[in-house]
Amino acid sequence: MEKIPDQTGYLILTEDGAVLESAGELENDERIATIIIDLISLSNTVDPLAFGPNEKFKKISITYDDHWYAICISNKKIYVVKRSISPAAAEGNAIAV
């Protein structure tokens, strides 16, 4: 997990939200762990019509201005990685309207 480029912290959780491993800026961060678990359970019920009955989300990303979190589930474990965004690459995910 440490080999991910730009990563400033990571968390590995069980499906119930227990922290298995943590490091960096997310070390021992139970608060973020609970928030992420709730987020995942919400995402599972988003849109049965647009996404089909069995199509669960493979990856969730939460992007701020200078860093972002990548969340995915694999092998009954939830992986959360906090990665920073270098200013040059920041074209932004803002949906210009």
Binding site: D38, S41, L42, T45
Partner: protein, 125 residues
């Protein structure tokens, strides 16, 4: 069965921020299943409050838009959402800034349990 349902409703109560209680009652407001937190206003849990929905939904169905399904009432510090699932009524009471859309989406999650409950209500003389 009712205990499992109550546990499930309590779980839903925790999921939605600001939701104070979920009640499934018959048309007269007699409770079938109740899941309440301490913040639920006691007066609103009584049958005489819940039964007003029966009349309201009948009248609302006469507006020419078809059968009335849901009535959302916003009060100064609470919001009450009631769904017409006759012979049952589902009542949600939440804070005024609670996510109304999220509560409405709970309908599809509670619906599967209503068939068995409706049988209970229908059998009563």
């Amino acid at each position: 069965m009712v205990d499992d349902l109550r546990k499930y409703l309590n779980h839903l109560l925790e999921k939605v921020n600001g939701l104070h209680c979920i009640l499934i009652t018959d048309r007269d407001g007699v409770p079938v299943v109740r899941a309440v937190t301490e913040r639920a206003p006691q007066l609103a849990l009584r049958p005489n409050f819940i039964s007003t929905f029966g009349m309201a939904t009948d009248q609302a169905s006469k507006l020419g838009l078809g059968r009335n399904k849901t009535i959302i009432s916003m009060y100064s510090s609470y919001q009450v959402i009631q769904m017409n699932k006759l012979p049952l009524i589902i009542t949600f009471i939440g804070s005024d800034n609670c996510n109304t859309g999220h509560i409405l989406s709970l309908e599809s999650q509670i619906e599967p349990f209503l068939k068995d409950l409706a049988a209970v209500v229908a059998d009563a003389p």
